[in-house]
């Protein structure tokens, strides 16, 4: 085998490898990209049924009901808001430890026919001061936070914010950073 021929073989192999990797990536992207939607997005444009997406916002104060049942399994009902619109959510599972009323949440699942979002998972966060960037973005878009007026206020105060009022002062910065 000559060197030229060998190089040809290797180049061919590389092309096949790269090609198949690209093809695989593209086909997998087509079916498996998960889009993020805020409650306002859903009201504006009903998402296609049977397609999984992420719903994010704040857990509405006083909306969490832990007594429910859904399809024979113990379920939790709550509502997710971005200050402008509200989407009811049902979740069968154990809620993450940092799930709290009035705090940011991201859930993944599908829209049911009755307009209730069926969450397959509620995403956990390791830090209670953490605001998921998608949620922050949704709140910005619904007019609850203008980044030009300073840092985002503490997540716990988000749902009491009024869009017409200027944003709160930033929470005390954490020391050490």
């Amino acid at each position: 085998m000559t060197r030229k021929k060998r190089r040809l073989y290797i180049l061919l192999l590389c092309a096949i490898g790269l090609g198949s990797a690209t093809a695989l990536t593209l086909t997998a992207f087509q079916d498996n990209l998960v889009f993020f939607r805020s409650p306002s997005d859903i009201v504006r444009e009903t998402p296609p049924p049977g397609r999984s997406f992420r719903l994010g916002g704040l857990v509405e104060e006083g909306s969490v009901q832990r007594q429910g049942e859904y399809q024979g399994r113990p379920a939790i009902h709550f509502r997710v808001t971005d200050g402008a619109h509200v989407i009811p959510v049902v979740f069968t599972g154990v809620l993450p430890d940092l799930f709290r009323e009035g705090q940011g949440v991201v859930t993944q699942g599908m829209m049911g026919e009755d307009g209730t979002f069926r969450a397959r998972e509620v995403l956990a966060r390791h830090d209670e001061n953490y605001m998921p960037p998608e949620v922050a973005d949704a709140l910005k878009r619904s007019g609850h936070w203008n980044p030009a007026q300073g840092a985002a206020p503490a997540p716990a105060t988000w749902n009491t914010l009024d869009p017409s009022r200027p944003a709160f002062a930033a929470p005390p910065p954490r020391s050490g950073s």
Partner: protein, 662 residues
């Protein structure tokens, strides 16, 4: 006083790093032996300075020095001593000190073991190590000083995130860092080779042990992280294709490719340019991982300490190192003449295929990890790429990789015949097919799991067939074969063990594909049937721990009326930091894990307080991590091979020469 000493030692280390990155390199260019000789002492001195600094920080944690901001933010006097110490690297600043300490340790190790290296190569390697070290020291000193003071001191600290107060997470970061940083050494070797414009078998012999050691530590680090996520997060899963997990998987994939192509350089002096490129990529991906984790640009369930400004600094470092190294590569690589011709069907050919597939998987994972970031930057659209994408895109590439893993080691170097090898593997193929059919028969229509079991048996039996073939089982007497097996090179054993370890991990993954879960609300005294067991909730009570309070459930697991196990899942509440954590209770056996999580407590229609339980049956789960341990063991075996230890006599000869000339 002690923290100032630590800070001073850190700045001193930075000064030493400046000297280390300039003097030896200059010496190597001018052929000045005295300047080149400064590399080793500078590396050792830098290591000592950073060790002092690291010890000072540990001291501040152990003695609860509340005048140090870092201690206040991350520690608490009520915390158990073990977690006070491990809490040092549970935060951004401390973990960086650990990172540079490991980096300086590697540099000192190159100095200690590298006495037999050609002095110009040693000097250039140390200079590159010095540059990397300098970058990270500057990062610490300018953006993340752990020794910052606060006055007046607060009465007590804010405590460490309770999720991190765990033995798994105490050892996970150091192992991972040794792995990441080990690739800094291969990177330094690659850059030094590019400066010299020469890659030969001797270079391969030096790069291989470092890539092996880094790979072993990274394997352990990743698997312990996965194990931690499994038992501590309480979701019953072991791998979430989370950006932070991917960040550690990417260098592992590139490092695995490097590990194999370095053998070809060492044995056959082929694939040289490619190996250098892989060495550059492995460390680039390590740095990229550090950037993704530290900057918080990607959404992750694992990121703890993140700060965009710091991310920018790491991005800058990444840019400097990567553009520098790749520019050097583009400039110098064409001058390195390829040697060692081989046929497509040969051991080298097999390794090329392995590299190709591993790099394809790396590319797919990289694209999947970074795509949301780029889409957000370019269009502002928020998306996420979850496990379905990664499973769908990597599995078709992993399958031929696994199939080749059993065949490759049995091929001869240079030119091989595929047919006799396949003949020797026929019983292995039968075992794999049997596993496939048995799974479908007994577990139902789970094609992917069945395929996983087939792969697992293919690999484990394939490794056995490889060793049997080398020992000559069937061609010579059994006694003779045993004797030969004992005297096979350790590298051959290491490869077989590591490949079998991969098979064991796949066995666990395939088993987890059959996992089932049940969510149920049970009143105290009530019971539920699940996975062939009766699970009886005895009650839920309060429990007080050293720095937390908890609600603890007692569940008796019965089979045919006999008690199998008593499980106590709990929910812990940590007053400092006001956090709740879920402690899953796991019963591990050879056949798999029973896994119970305590959820909410709520009153049902009759007014009785029920507890929501999530129960999992995870068949073969422990084997995922045992397999990773076996892989690391294989690497350790390979490291103890004679041809790696053989450097010792060479060193002795050098000493003798030195004495003779003195």
């Amino acid at each position: 006083m002690i923290p100032e000493l630590g800070h001073f030692a850190l700045i001193l280390a930075a000064m030493l790093a400046i000297a280390q990155s300039i003097l030896p390199l200059w010496g190597a260019q001018r052929g000045d032996t005295r300047l080149m000789g400064s590399a080793a002492p500078l590396a050792v001195a830098g290591f000592i300075a950073i060790t002092i600094s690291f010890a000072a920080l540990i001291w501040a944690y152990v003695t609860n020095d509340m005048t140090v901001v870092n201690v206040v933010a991350n520690s608490h006097s009520a915390k158990p001593m073990l977690f006070k110490v491990t809490g040092v690297w549970g935060n951004h600043e401390g973990s960086l000190i650990l990172w540079v300490a490991v980096l300086a340790g590697c540099s000192a190790a190159v100095a200690a073991f590298g006495a037999a290296l050609p002095s110009a190569l040693q000097a250039r390697v140390q200079a590159v190590m010095g540059m990397i070290l300098l970058g990270f020291l500057a990062f610490i000193i300018f953006t993340s000083n752990p020794f910052e003071r606060i006055w007046p001191p607060p009465p007590d600290g804010q405590g460490l995130n309770p999720l991190l107060q765990d033995i798994g997470l105490a050892i996970h970061p150091p192992l991972l860092y040794v792995g990441y940083v080990g690739y800094a050494v291969t990177f330094a070797f690659a850059v030094a080779a590019l400066i010299e414009g020469r890659v030969d078998a001797a270079w391969g012999r030096w790069v291989r042990p470092w890539s092996l050691a880094a790979w072993a530590f990274l394997t352990m680090g990743i698997s312990i992280g996965s194990w931690w996520a499994y038992y501590e997060l309480g979701w019953g899963g072991y791998w979430f294709w989370d950006p932070v997990e991917n960040a550690s998987l990417l260098p592992w994939l590139a490092g695995t490719a490097l590990l194999h192509s370095a053998i070809v350089v060492e044995k056959r002096e082929a694939l040289k340019i490619w190996t250098v490129l892989l060495a550059l990529m492995a460390f680039t991906l390590s740095l990229l991982g550090a950037f993704l984790v530290r900057s918080g640009v990607l959404n992750s369930v694992h990121s703890f300490a993140s700060d965009p400004a710091r991310g920018l600094f790491i991005l800058g470092l990444l840019g400097i190192y990567v553009t520098g190294a790749f520019a050097l590569f583009a400039w110098r690589a064409p001058s390195m003449a390829p040697a060692g011709v081989f046929a497509p069907i040969s051991r080298e050919g097999g390794i090329v295929l392995n590299n190709l597939l591993l790099c394809s998987i790396t590319a797919v994972v990289l694209v999947g990890t970074l795509y949301p970031l780029f889409l957000d930057l370019l269009t502002g659209q928020m998306i996420s790429v979850g496990p379905p994408f990664f499973n769908a895109a990597t599995a078709p590439l992993a399958l031929p990789l696994v199939m080749g893993m059993a065949v490759g080691p049995m091929l001869a170097w240079k030119r091989a015949n595929l047919w006799p090898v396949l003949q020797r593997l026929w019983w292995v193929a039968c075992m794999a097919l049997l596993a496939f059919i048995l799974t479908l028969t007994f577990a139902g229509w789970h094609v992917l799991s069945a395929l996983g079991f087939a792969c697992a048996f293919w690999l484990i039996c394939g490794a056995a067939a490889d060793i049997a073939d080398r020992a000559g089982v069937g061609r010579t007497s059994l006694r003779n074969a045993l004797n030969r097996a004992r005297h096979l090179p350790r590298a051959a054993w290491g490869a077989a063990i590591a490949h079998a370890g991969m098979g064991v991990t796949i066995l666990g993954v395939a088993g987890m594909g059959l996992a089932v879960e049940k969510l149920v609300a049970v009143p105290p005294g009530g019971s539920t049937q699940f996975a062939g067991y009766e699970w009886r909730l005895e009650g839920v009570r309060d429990f007080i721990g050293p720095n937390f309070t908890a609600r603890k459930a007692t569940i008796t697991v019965l089979r045919d009326g006999r008690v199998v196990h008593v499980m106590e899942p709990s929910k812990r509440y940590f007053p400092t930091g006001r956090m709740t954590t879920t402690e899953a209770s796991i019963r591990t056996s050879v056949a798999g894990d029973l896994y119970a999580v305590l959820g909410e407590e709520r009153a049902n229609e009759a007014g009785v307080n029920e507890a929501v339980l999530r129960l999992h049956n995870n068949p073969l789960a422990p084997w995922i991590w045992i397999g990773a341990g076996i892989m690391a063991l294989g690497a350790a075996f390979s490291l103890s091979d004679r041809r790696i230890r053989i450097a010792a006599p060479a060193r002795r000869r050098k000493d003798a020469e030195a004495e003779a000339s003195a």
